[in-house]
């Protein structure tokens, strides 16, 4: 699946449960640098949990999670912080800090995690906000932004530290088709221009077709299919075929 390249992210026999409920059961997949992986599946099959495990916001009971050859399940706080620097996370509802303006939302990570001067920080914020089409909205509070703008703002914050790996949780949920395709376009541009590895959790078939190089299909906590979009379309598993069909 990695075409001979070493994987930049890999799930190796990962299991996760909440109480008695098994969410993921011995899930394995990997993705090489600069590619886009879409994780498809019905609601409650562990897609968002997968992203939180990658970010080490949750810990698995079993298995290993590799980010650039480092097993993040074994890392301490400081090492974890270093690995997280390589990743950006676009949350499902953007998770913007609602007491801060859009500018301050982007300023926070830059101010705390980089040694950039204020001029350099302002330059980066302007560049990223222009990139997502919110150049004129930086003084707005999150409550003043529409759903699509919030998604783009969340994407801007995820990109502001120039991550090598971008995780996106339902980037098109709650958006109309046009806005959803704009978000997908931004993700594709990020991948093409900066060689960012994308891991996108989605229900959206159109989005998957636009963005994915590879697809992993989850059902009841297990991987039931993985491959390219055409491979999934002709997969023997009916649920996988249904999930990718328009």
């Amino acid at each position: 699946m990695t075409n001979g390249q070493p994987p930049v992210v890999a799930f190796d026999q990962v299991s996760k449960s909440f109480g008695a409920k098994q969410i993921l059961s011995e899930v394995s997949w990997s993705i090489p640098e600069g590619e886009a992986l879409c994780i498809l599946g019905r609601s409650g099959t562990g897609k968002s949990v997968t992203l939180k495990l990658l970010m080490s916001l949750l810990k698995p009971e079993k298995g290993r999670i590799w980010i650039e050859q480092e097993d993040v399940t074994q890392l301490g706080c400081r090492e974890l912080s270093r690995v997280r620097h390589k990743m950006g996370f676009l949350f499902q509802d953007a998770a913007l800090f609602d007491s801060l303006t859009l500018y301050e939302n982007l300023l926070l990570p830059l101010q705390r995690l980089t040694k950039k001067t204020r001029e350099e920080i302002d330059f980066v914020i302007d560049r990223v906000l222009n990139q997502v089409g919110l150049g004129g909205d930086k003084a707005k509070m999150p409550s003043e932004l529409s759903g699509g703008m919030r998604k783009r703002a969340g994407l801007a914050r995820a990109l502001v530290l120039e991550p090598k790996i971008l995780l996106a949780d339902e980037p098109s949920s709650g958006l109309d088709r046009i806005t959803a395709s704009e978000i997908d376009e931004l993700l594709n541009r990020q991948k093409a221009e900066r060689k960012t590895t994308l891991i996108v959790v989605t229900h959206d078939v159109h989005g998957t077709r636009r963005v994915a190089d590879r697809v992993v299909v989850l059902d009841r906590g297990k991987v039931i299919a993985q491959g390219t979009v055409p491979e999934i379309e002709h997969h023997e598993n009916e649920i996988a075929r249904k999930l990718i069909s328009e």
Partner: protein, 253 residues
């Protein structure tokens, strides 16, 4: 009952983590200043207004009683002792628990429900140090200051009430109020409010930060913050008074 002990243990560990976090880098000076001003601005007017009203009402009540025993001269003394020793610290703490504790619980629970806390962690920022520690320190530092406002507002309310009845001058009122007053009557009760502030900050942050009930958890966290911290303040007050009498025997009247 087991559940109560389990929560008590978890809150204690949470508070201990905050204490150790206070002395670890990075020190969240900006956040602390922001939360101090938030606690102050949210509570100051409430504290002053309550102090004035309580002071006036208390003088009205005690006056009739003391006049009956021919002891109207000690009305200012009673007022000062009552406010500095007990009413000021306790009422301020209960007001702050209601006003600030509920806000802390609700804000942190909302941040948890809307994944803002996860977003902070995803940005490699220690969310506990960033969100919880400054709030607890701010409550701990703000309570003694707010208590002083309550104490002096209570005296002011008492003076207004007394002046309206007996035309007692301010100078005489103050000299009678503090005639028998010692430092041991002032510092220990005022500083015990640091414990109340720490309790409010810790309990409210605990219920907000650790909730996992989504939007429903926001209301629950706010309510639990107020109920539990108010109850703890009253219980701790009893223990702290005994402790103060033990350490400062001269403060026991």
């Amino acid at each position: 009952m087991t559940n109560v002990f389990e929560i008590a243990g978890r809150v204690s560990l949470f508070g201990f983590r905050a204490v150790t976090g206070t002395f670890r880098r990075p020190f969240e000076g900006g956040q602390l200043a922001w939360h101090l001003s938030e606690v102050g601005s949210k509570s100051l007017l409430l504290v002053i207004a309550s102090g004035l009203a309580l002071g006036a009402v208390m003088t009205l009540h005690t006056r009739s009683m003391l006049v009956m025993f021919g002891a109207s001269l000690i009305i200012p003394t009673v007022q000062a002792f009552a406010f500095f020793l007990e009413i000021g610290p306790l009422v301020t703490a209960l007001l702050v628990a209601g006003r600030v504790g509920s806000a802390i619980g609700a804000v942190l629970a909302d941040m948890r429900a809307t994944e803002q806390i996860d977003a902070i962690e995803a940005l490699s920022i220690d969310s506990f140090k960033f969100l919880v520690v400054p709030r607890i320190i701010a409550c701990t530092l703000a309570l003694p200051l707010l208590t002083l406002f309550m104490d002096f507002s209570g005296l002011a309310g008492g003076f207004v009430s007394e002046f309206a009845t007996s035309r007692l001058s301010l100078q005489l009122y103050l000299s009678r109020a503090f005639a028998e007053f010692q430092w041991a009557n002032f510092w220990p009760p005022t500083l015990k409010t640091c414990v109340f502030g720490f309790t409010i900050g810790t309990v409210a942050s605990f219920f907000g930060y650790t909730t996992n009930e989504g939007a429903q958890g926001v209301g629950k966290a706010a309510t639990r913050s107020v109920v539990v911290s108010s109850l703890l303040i009253i219980l701790l007050d009893v223990l702290l008074i005994k402790l103060i009498f033990f350490i400062f025997p001269e403060s026991a009247l």
